[in-house]
């Protein structure tokens, strides 16, 4: 039995008074890839961002319910968001390299965490780039700008930058939506390799991608919220991916994954 990394119970996320997502109760298991799927506005990205307290950076956003990381309530008043984020890395929808050299991009996190020695940084940068299957492509131009890389390479560099802080969890928010099928395949392969070292949670609006990469899938949808009378997201079903795609339990899931969009 795998260790539970995240334990969400009755999580709701508000933007001001608007309840963007509700009824989120799910576990994320260690060394697995968990995928969040669902239509636009179902709140899957909001839930992902709740896992490393990225909502702190948005005025008016609020997380209710219990979000536990290895038993610790992430939203307890004395928990530091920056400390949380150093344990829980995040990769974004569009590759977002800093306009710095490849080396400085990857070394950014370790430097923030206090690693100053050039020798140590060299080792971390190489290890991270190898981990992101990018080392061979960039080892000769570590000092050139990261913006000169192709889209797929940039995204892999962002993954390297994230794993350079040695997080335990890597959150990914539609990491391939800006990439072509070949770059996507490489990122997906990388994810499968990374799961031996990290726990991965990925948001994707590409159902096939969830089917291809994930071990567990959580399906969200958007419905009329009985309390606020606006459309809001909610969690419908979580299950093993192979089972979700061959034999989902909830009819809403079945309708969505088979392409019955009403």
């Amino acid at each position: 039995m795998s260790t539970t990394v995240f334990e969400l119970a009755d999580v709701e996320i508000f933007y001001g008074k608007y309840r963007a997502v509700r009824a989120v109760t799910l576990d994320v298991l260690e060394h697995e890839i968990t995928a969040f799927i669902g239509p636009s506005g179902c709140g899957k990205t909001s839930v992902l961002r709740a896992l490393d307290r990225m909502h702190d950076t948005v005025a008016g956003a609020r997380v209710a319910g219990s979000v536990r990381y290895r038993g610790v309530d992430l939203y307890a008043p004395d928990i530091s968001a920056t400390a949380v984020r150093r344990r829980i890395g995040m990769v974004f929808q569009k590759p977002n390299p800093f306009p710095k050299s490849i080396y400085d991009n990857v070394a950014f996190g370790p430097r923030v965490s206090g690693t100053k020695s050039k020798a140590d940084l060299d080792i971390i940068v190489e290890k991270s780039l190898r981990g992101a299957a990018l080392w061979d492509e960039v080892k000769d131009r570590l000092k050139s700008s990261a913006l000169g890389l192709s889209g797929g390479q940039q995204q892999r560099m962002c993954i390297a930058r994230t794993i350079a802080i040695e997080p335990e969890v890597v959150l990914m928010d539609e990491p391939c939506s800006a990439l072509d099928p070949i770059a996507t395949a490489h990122i997906e392969e990388l994810m499968r390799e990374l799961k031996s070292r990290f726990t991965i949670v990925i948001v994707t609006h590409n159902m096939q991608q969830a089917a291809r990469v994930s071990d567990h899938t959580a399906f969200f949808t958007a419905e009329q919220d009985p309390k606020t009378a606006t459309r809001g997201g909610l969690l419908v079903e979580v299950g093993a991916t192979a089972q979700m795609f061959s034999n989902p339990k909830d009819e809403r899931t079945e309708n969505y994954i088979t392409g019955r969009f009403g």
């Binding site: 290895r70 038993g71 004395d78 928990i79 530091s80 400390a83």
Partner: protein
């Protein structure tokens, strides 16, 4: 792997005083703007009080400006300022937009690059240089004399690169996709410009024009050199010599007495208020155009 208790300790908040301090320094810097503006408003109001209490509302309505008689009526200068600025805008705006359209929509890439450089450089030419050229070449060598028209032309030449440069920047932000949509629907170049570039740029163009107008209104030196320094002229004849608020201040400050200085400060105050109004209107127009662009 640390136990849950250890983990909780590790994730605990550490005080981040440096973070907070940086935020307050930034806030203080921003507040400086308010401080300076308040100081300007207070100082100017206090210093213009003597002439305003002496003249009352006549200061704004009287056409008589006679320091020796201690009569200060600002109306001719207000008129002169608005008249020259209008002439300048009338010349500069169509030309600027035409040039900006040429640069962004017509010129081949190489020509475009050089024209952009040229316009940006011209926008940086100090106004006093235009004034110099105006007084020594346009009014003397070309015999145009010192008049509203001369000042208007000099101001127009001065603000055209500025308006062009801003307009070009705004027009360049028209999404290529929008332009292609129009082209793909069978539109000619001009139809495409009318459908996409102009609507998209409306807000920015108004902003650019208003900025140009603000410059024209507040421009002291070029106007002071070529407008003619006539006192009390209210005429729509563009070839007549006239005067404008900034020119009067610049030309008379040196030899002014206490009440005269107060009158000049009140004149500056008036100019200040007019430019603020122009800016407010410009802001409102730009904001409305942006709201419309966002589709609210």
């Amino acid at each position: 792997m640390s136990s849950s208790a250890n983990l909780a300790v590790e994730l605990r908040t550490r005080k981040r005083s440096a973070d907070a301090a940086f935020g307050w320094v930034a806030r203080g810097s921003a507040a400086f703007v308010l401080l300076v503006l308040a100081a300007i408003a207070l100082t100017m109001t206090a210093r213009s009080a003597p002439v305003l209490s002496a003249m009352g509302l006549d200061f704004f309505t009287s056409t008589q400006w006679s320091p020796p008689e201690k009569v200060y009526g600002a109306l001719p200068f207000v008129f002169g300022t608005l008249f020259t600025a209008s002439i300048a805008i009338a010349f500069a705006v169509p030309v600027s937009i035409g040039v900006a359209l040429f640069i962004t929509q017509v010129a081949p890439p190489r020509v475009r690059r050089y024209m952009i450089y040229a316009i940006d450089l011209l926008a940086a030419v100090p106004s006093v240089v235009f004034g110099l050229w105006g007084v020594l070449v346009l009014s003397r060598d070309f015999g145009l004399g010192r008049s509203f028209l001369t000042a208007g032309i000099i101001l127009a030449v001065m603000i055209t690169p500025i308006i062009t440069s801003l307009s070009r920047e705004v027009m360049e932000t028209t999404p290529q996709a929008d332009k292609e949509a129009a082209i793909a629907l069978g539109a000619t170049r001009w139809e495409m410009i009318k459908a996409t570039v102009l609507p998209h740029s409306t807000g920015g163009l108004v902003g650019a024009v208003m900025l140009g107008l603000g410059r024209a209104l507040g421009e002291t030196i070029a106007a002071a050199l070529v407008i003619g320094s006539a006192l009390g002229q209210i005429t729509t004849n563009p070839l007549a010599a006239g005067n404008s608020m900034p020119a009067v201040i610049a030309n008379e400050w040196g030899e002014a007495g206490t009440l005269h200085k107060s009158a000049l400060i009140a004149l500056a105050m008036t100019l200040f208020v007019i430019t603020i109004l122009v800016n407010l209107i410009a802001n409102a127009i730009v904001a409305r155009a942006q709201r419309r662009m966002r589709g609210a």
